[in-house]
Assembly symmetry: D2
């Protein structure tokens, strides 16, 4: 355990009272869950909760599904009881009627999950349980509804006010770094030597959010490069032979990778807070930093071009940049949101589209998805609130003038091409 | 800030970004709260939340009442919406209908409180807000109902699994010890010298529960004396000139004082966990410890005797002990729970009534409330679960044989006295 | 133990292997010391060293004197051996002859002290042993010489590079604060409430040097007040009802009290480093700080005036300030060093005499020693090196122009008075 | 920096006052060293010391040699002064004469090294300086003598009482683990995965000594395997597919690798303390541990057999074990110490030769040096003192009965072989 983990963990059970075999409660799980949310649970809760969590951990997927269906069917709300409670409450709004309403509308499984969480280490186990639920319940309406109860509790437990931002460096515990390697989802970390290049040099930083109850598990982390000027190539940024820049000479912080670590915390978003907090922290530590940008892929770009039947020439940089600008600003889902998921995330956070670069990611994945193009989203802390509101309200996308011009160029070129094609068709007809 | 506080606090806002005057949002509170739970709140939440909390802190009681009524009236559930949602859910149990149900039954003020909690330090501010609410809303049904929403969230936030047990010693930060002095509710700590006698000697211990988001604030603490044999006098236990016992020679741990620190956490109980965890920890550290008892007052004893018209002679030790045993085992509330609040707490935790002592607390308070009598509740970890269940189910009170005998003696004496009195009345009639 | 103490202490002996009675070696101390510096000492050193230190702790002053004389007489250098070694070394400067020389000139008691120091906690015990030695050996040449060996080792052990500067605050462990109260030597701290006023407000700071091997013991500490402008009264500075100044609005840091904590570290000076390091730290934390001064007593002022037969009127502020300036700049010891010990310390550190104030310390001690006068020594970090050199070389004392003028005024007044008196004498003669 | 490093380092210079170019003192090194040990050094010491250390770091080997010769020639003791001082001291043993003696016999370079050490981080720089000195001065008598002064100071600075034992685990900072990989000298760690197998499983431990002034640098570390029974093969012990043993089921702790990390701390021994302290710590943590042994190579075995012309058959296990026992117990240097360096170390610590194993290390190095044989040295804490004394005094080597018998067998076989050979020679003659 790290020092922090040690401080944070409740010492008693984990360290001192090893689980004795005779303490296991071997009755069927539904009996245990019934006991845990009943009167017995108040006192024997710890033993019951451990029995349930340990038993769960041994189940195969079929067993887990059965457990989830038990929660979904036997521990849900009772419509009649809800109706009676809301009628009574409306008739007389007292503490008693409101309490009855609150009790009627909270399914017993929420109390069950809270009581399971008493066991040291349970928080992580429950996050993993939800990861199972999301995986196994994808096409099962009852389980998808059940997930809303997990999500409801996790939203309270992982409230932004409870999260701790910690720098990740070459001085961090190996077991944390090991997880950074495993969880990095954008630009794979290939070895410990590679990791070291990402966290040790004076122009590299990494930050993660942690929750005090699972201090050995990063929730989400961001990797930052400190540069002079806004970079336009991920390979250049990560080149092994690049010259290291003293942190205090940098004018730009580049968020080049953000990775979620816990599948069980899907939809409990804190990425937005992370970038802005890191930007604020860095601007205090290094007052020379003036610009905070990402260097991001366009994961849906290649597919969109194909779907739209738009021809492209990866060697023609100017053309690719125009098409990318067009894609980012014009390609929309049916709900009018940007088609590109990364764009949705950063624009939703209040960032603007700052610059696009061709041949910026020449890796296999970069070529396949983004045709080598990358984009800088700009986090101007003085504008994120306004950008966010316009985006949330009028679906207005903030861009730099250059990106706007590039998109216009592409639009013009496309309509011209279309015109040409139409003319040709016309011509052919004649 | 303590080291722990420093680690736990999110560094950004508290330390580096001092609040600038021009950031204050001076619009009326209801506008701010509406914004905070609306779309703007996702991004500008921190600024809004700080504005609301800072504004709240400046309100007088009248202003606070108005704020609470705003929450109670404008941010509650809408019965029609609940009914529509439960009908739709019953008609088709899908994720969408369940989500609509969940959203309809959760009052917006819960989301408001969660968003307020994003601000560093907000958790303690919200606990203090609830303390205000409990104080100001005592006779107001709308506010008492509102409190259930605070309580609902706090139950999740202060889940046992998130609490940290920390020893309090003469090496603890002065500002924590200062709070121990202030919060001690049972046997007042009169000075720093007095405090030192409670925490520094090898036969004295103190433990508190903390929450990571308010690491400078103990939630509840217990004071422990290590002794040979079960003590029968609080003055003897705390005597300045007593001989100090090396911790490893003790056979008994005496919980002689338990104090809640946060009025705003009323009804969020963790006292039960505290005693049992401390008992378990100590038994590992000091294997010589065999007996875990309290030395507790009987705060309702004097009043009960008076109400029942039972005569008593504080000088007659045997008689006083019998009456106390009778009181603890027989005096009940209308709901069949023990009349004595301390008895309710410990018996509810699964303790048993072990021994009663006369002239055990000769302080003014001890004489006035308990007529000098004190009681040891015994925490036998192998029996607490069984004791608790019998108490919760059949209202059966676990006692030692001696306490049973004492109670029987008192009963006999009382019925004899009554008989005598009845005879006298009869006699007088004739 | 504090966290730091815990980390720093070697865990084994102190925590886990309690001293068993049968391990005590009860032979006479000289036998034990002989063993400890002999071959056995390499392996059984810990047990022997503990036996010696524990035995020493039980000795009365007579026993301690005997022990010190044993070290002085039986464990010193052997002149003949030294002479032989230096001759051999001069004849042939090889590793072997130099080793023989080194061994001949180091008295065995130095190795003894080093081996005693292996025991956990021994460093503090040895510091206390030296305090005894200084106290008991004041008039004993052999013991005063022995002290030079302690001092030689302590100079290595307490090398500036090994010391740790730590802020002392209301968050510090109570047991450390308790020592601050006890050791404060300049302006007594009368209670915990008084202490709190010295360390908690935003315009008060306290810093101490610690050694990792005795982390619970401050070595020296300085108390700092943050002010606007240079203060001229200690009572004003410490007034309970003064208005607290936000730290970042201060322009001046006032070192108003420096106290050594360990009598056993006399002549191992680090006060010089402390002030300069604290000044540098504070100027980084609070860039608004422009001036670093002391507010110091003149402990020899009253006595000097009396010895010199200089009349004075404590009510005449201007006159008192002139006399004080004269005293600080002109009164010298036979070795040409300033007569005032506080002046010697600060001028030796490279400070200059900045300002003198009348009625600046109206406490009993302040009136008795300094006739109420206080002085600000100025630490201008850009000038301390130059000031120090001139002071160390040419005994030149750096002063402000005003102090120079004040001294000149006093000088003129005195010579005029003397002239007047001479005239009177002359006159009387005639 | 690690947390510990951060606490331990004096924050000022390292963190906040970056070295400005204009502060460099570019005069010749001998001028700087003269200044540093002179009066100026007391105040400007930090700047001077940094200049010297930074300048030193840029020197090539020739420059370093010149610097060392400067220290050796210009900063040594003056024989005449020593003689005068010892004469004066003998004539009158006062504090003054002893002080003069102490000053005359301590070469100025010791004070120089102490003053260099004021700079944060200097301790490690000085340890590296000594590593240079040992490397460059191997055949230079003046430099070898100079080394004795470094050694003298380091013996004080790295006094056992100042060292901190810290466990090394998978939770340790990566930069510390990186050094463990680099410094492991016995059984090479080939990768991070290999390292993980050495520190993470429940039956593997690692401990290192640290000095508070260089907290990021392990001084020496030991790797421990927890086993049932005494193991006889290093490959078996480290097998990747071995079954992990819960720590509390182990009865034996095997010290299978001890590595010094700092060439500059040669001859400043703490390996002895390390094993015994780790043994004591582990026996407290895991009371089931009864036996503490090493699994050690015999690095001089193959060469000895060759030198002695003793024939051997690596396939004949019994024979190899006998020869190894003979080697360990009988092969001596001219000073009567065991020929084998590892044997000298452990026997000097008070261990005994417990068991020898053939085909115990089948690595290339193990075959080449030790012919595959390994030995267990037994640390019986109740006997180490006695073993050590007998070894130090009478050169008596403690062995188990079996090892004695094995050695006797080998002796008999060898003398029989010699006899046979002699007979053959005789026979041939005839």
């Amino acid at each position: 355990m790290t020092l922090l983990a040690e401080m944070m963990s409740t010492l008693f059970e984990r360290r001192f009272v090893p689980w004795r075999d005779d303490e296991y409660d071997t009755r069927p799980l539904p009996e245990l869950t019934a006991d845990l949310i009943g009167a017995r649970g108040e006192i024997s809760g710890l033993t019951l909760a451990r029995s349930i969590l340990d038993r769960y951990a041994t189940l195969d997927d079929e067993g887990k599904c059965a457990f989830f269906h038990h929660l979904a069917q036997d521990m849900g709300v009772k419509p009649d009881r809800v109706r009676a409670a809301i009628d009574a409450y409306e008739a007389g709004q007292t503490k008693a009627t409101y309490r009855a309403f609150v009790e009627a509308t909270e399914p017993p499984r929420q109390e069950l999950i809270r009581r399971l969480n008493q066991v040291p280490g349970a928080t992580h186990a429950l996050v993993q349980m939800r990861a199972d639920l999301l995986r196994l319940g994808r096409d099962d309406d009852a389980l998808r509804a059940l997930d809303l109860d997990f999500r409801h509790l996790f939203t309270s437990w992982f409230n932004r006010g409870f999260l701790v931002l910690r720098p990740i460096s070459w001085e961090s515990p190996a077991q944390i770094l090991d997880k950074i390697i495993a969880y990095e989802a954008v630009h794979a970390i290939r070895s410990w030597a590679d990791l070291r290049r990402r966290v040790e040099p004076s122009d590299r930083r990494c930050f993660a959010f942690f929750h005090p109850a699972m201090p050995d598990e990063p929730l989400i982390f961001v990797q930052v490069a400190l540069t002079r000027g806004v970079p336009g190539s991920i390979q250049g940024l990560l080149a092994e032979d690049r010259e290291e820049l003293p942190g205090d000479r940098a004018d730009t912080a580049v968020f080049y990778s953000i990775s979620n670590c816990q599948a069980g915390l899907a939809s409990i978003s804190f990425g937005n807070s992370l970038i802005k907090q890191v930007a604020a922290d860095l601007s205090v530590e290094l007052p020379g930093l003036k610009t905070f940008v990402t260097l991001s892929p366009l994961p849906g770009f290649a597919r969109w071009l194909a779907d739209e039947g738009i021809p492209n020439d990866p060697e023609d940089d100017a053309h690719m940049r125009s098409l990318a600008a067009l894609y980012l600003t014009q390609a929309k889902r049916t709900d009018a949101q940007p088609l590109d998921p990364v764009a949705r995330f950063h624009l939703g956070n209040g960032a603007s589209i700052h610059q696009v670069h061709a041949r910026a990611d020449i890796s296999g994945k970069g070529q396949a998805q983004s045709l080598g193009v990358m984009v800088n989203y700009l986090y101007d802390l003085s504008k994120v609130a306004q950008n966010h509101e316009r985006f949330a309200g009028a679906q207005e996308i903030a861009t730099s003038g250059e990106v706007r011009r590039l998109a216009a160029t592409a639009e013009k070129a496309l309509s011209k091409a279309e015109q040409t094609r139409a003319d040709q068709v016309e011509e052919e007809k004649t």
